[in-house]
């Protein structure tokens, strides 16, 4: 090996750190391995590593949680024997997860409103166990009900960089379908004052997002 430059050592250090960590590493944590670099240089180095692995069997992924190496998705078939066995989720649990992901933060009552059915025991429980959902802030309404939100592990599991990358999110929002209020309340708005309903929905969303 030729005498290495400092740049190369930084790159190698970050590469090794990413390889050796079970959890994704965020920029703060990565920075700790190369404290003499500034944030821009850390990002540049990560970008270079990602490029180096382009087209190889391992890829560097970035999500809100941080950076992590993962095997390339197109090799899934070849690596079938290495898959992690997972507990199969019921359709109700999958649907509940989707409702939480797209409408978060929302309360159990709101989940039931969207799905039109009472949440059976074991559904929230099972989703909690997967580590994909967690309690968010309590809603500041009478009874201070608990809200549910998705976790960073959710993003990591489904390969999403952030919540705004959820498939079809923009379309659903544009179609007014991401309103977690009871259906009657939503459509009553449409009847009363056409057009203003959307505005009302979105301010509420904003408010919740800020609160989260």
């Amino acid at each position: 090996m030729t005498p290495e430059t400092d740049d190369l050592r930084d790159l190698r250090t970050l590469e090794a750190a990413l390889f050796a960590s079970r959890e994704p590493l965020n920029v703060d944590k990565l920075h700790a391995f190369v404290p003499h670099l500034d944030g821009v240089a850390v990002h540049a180095t990560l970008a270079r590593i990602r490029q180096d692995y382009d087209g190889r069997g391992i890829q560097l992924e970035e999500t809100e949680t941080g950076w992590a190496f993962r095997t390339a998705p197109d090799l899934a078939e070849n690596l079938a024997t290495l898959r992690v066995e997972e507990r199969k989720l019921s359709r109700a649990a999958m649907e509940t997860l989707a409702v939480i992901a797209y409408h978060q933060p929302l309360t159990r009552v709101e989940i039931e409103g969207v799905r039109g059915v009472a949440t059976s025991k074991g559904t929230i429980d099972m989703l909690l166990e997967t580590g994909w959902i967690k309690p968010g802030r309590r809603r500041e309404t009478p009874g201070r009900p608990l809200t549910w939100v998705t976790t960073p592990a959710f993003l990591d599991h489904f390969g999403l960089e952030s919540i705004v990358d959820l498939p079809g999110l923009d379309d659903l929002k544009a179609a007014g379908l991401l309103d977690r209020r009871p259906a009657v309340a939503v459509t009553a708005d449409l009847f009363d004052e056409d057009g203003e309903a959307d505005a009302a929905g979105s301010t509420e969303d904003q408010e919740e997002t800020e609160a989260a």
Partner: protein, 280 residues
């Protein structure tokens, strides 16, 4: 097998509608509830959910519930509640709304129909994205994390404690469960068992007036508990009472008579003295 000599009577051909309803009944367990079922029916209309005819949907649902009830299949209460609500919605949609200022805040049929359409559309969207979400390349399935993060030969230097929120909630749940042990009740079905039916029948026969009644044939139905609404119970009672009656006939306490397939079953108290006299 093909050359089987026994001629079987073919079932009559079913019409398409019946088959569809039957298919829904068979799958009833697979639905998350009446809204989920309604959504499946709505998809059958093969139109954009925004243009769906709620009236046609209500009719389809009500026909379905009618069919299920005619087959004496028990429907969960929420399916019946939905049926009642849809019947109400239907009447509101069919009757012209009375433009009266007194009726305050009551929603029109159109508004309710709109709300239902929105509910279905939103649920449809959620079911669709749930599928899309799980079709993504998922961690541990299509994208694998590092298997063992090997280091060049050194022993670990730090302990990292593993626990997540679920563990805490689960642990607290366990303590609470211990402090308030749940009382487990074995779910009892409203069934009539053999012993019950035998006691019941014997009791009733014992209380029948002697002499002139002895000669009367009484329909087995008359010995049935009078609970029309509990289909399951009625069916089990019929089966148990018949079996009890057969047992009592074997013990020569009663006679049973039936004139043909599916004809009513009659029973009569057996007068042992008289029979003895006849024998003699």
């Amino acid at each position: 097998m093909e050359s089987s000599p026994i001629p079987f009577e073919e079932d009559p051909e079913r019409n398409a509608n019946e088959t569809k309803a039957d298919a829904l009944i068979v799958q009833l367990d697979g639905y998350e509830g009446p809204i989920d079922l309604l959504l499946t029916m709505a998809r059958d209309q093969k139109v954009d959910l925004r243009q769906i005819s709620i009236l046609a949907l209500a009719n389809q649902y009500l026909a379905f519930v009618e069919k299920v009830r005619s087959l004496k299949i028990e429907l969960a209460a929420d399916y019946l509640v939905m049926a009642a609500w849809l019947a109400y919605l239907k009447s509101k949609l069919l009757l012209p709304s009375i433009p009266s200022g007194d009726v305050e805040e009551e929603l029109t049929g159109e508004a309710l129909a709109e709300a239902l359409a929105f509910q279905l559309e939103r649920l449809e969207a959620m079911q669709k994205v749930a599928k899309e979400l799980f079709a993504r390349p998922r961690l541990g399935q299509n994208r694998l994390p590092v298997g063992m993060a090997g280091f060049a030969g050194q022993a670990p230097v730090r302990i990292e404690w593993q626990a997540n929120l679920y563990d805490i909630l689960d642990a607290y749940g366990a303590i609470t469960r211990r402090a308030n042990p749940a009382k487990y009740e074995i779910k009892t079905w409203p069934l009539m068992n053999m012993d019950e039916a035998t006691m019941r029948l014997a009791n009733m026969i014992g209380h029948m007036p002697q002499n002139q009644w002895n000669e009367l044939w009484k329909a087995l139905d008359a010995f049935m508990p009078n609970e029309d609404d509990a289909t399951l119970n009625t069916k089990s009672a019929l089966a148990s009472t018949l079996t009890a009656a057969l047992e009592m006939a074997k013990q020569e306490r009663i006679n049973i008579q039936q004139d043909g397939l599916f004809a009513p079953i009659y029973i009569r108290i057996r007068d042992s003295k008289q029979e003895a006299a006849n024998d003699a």
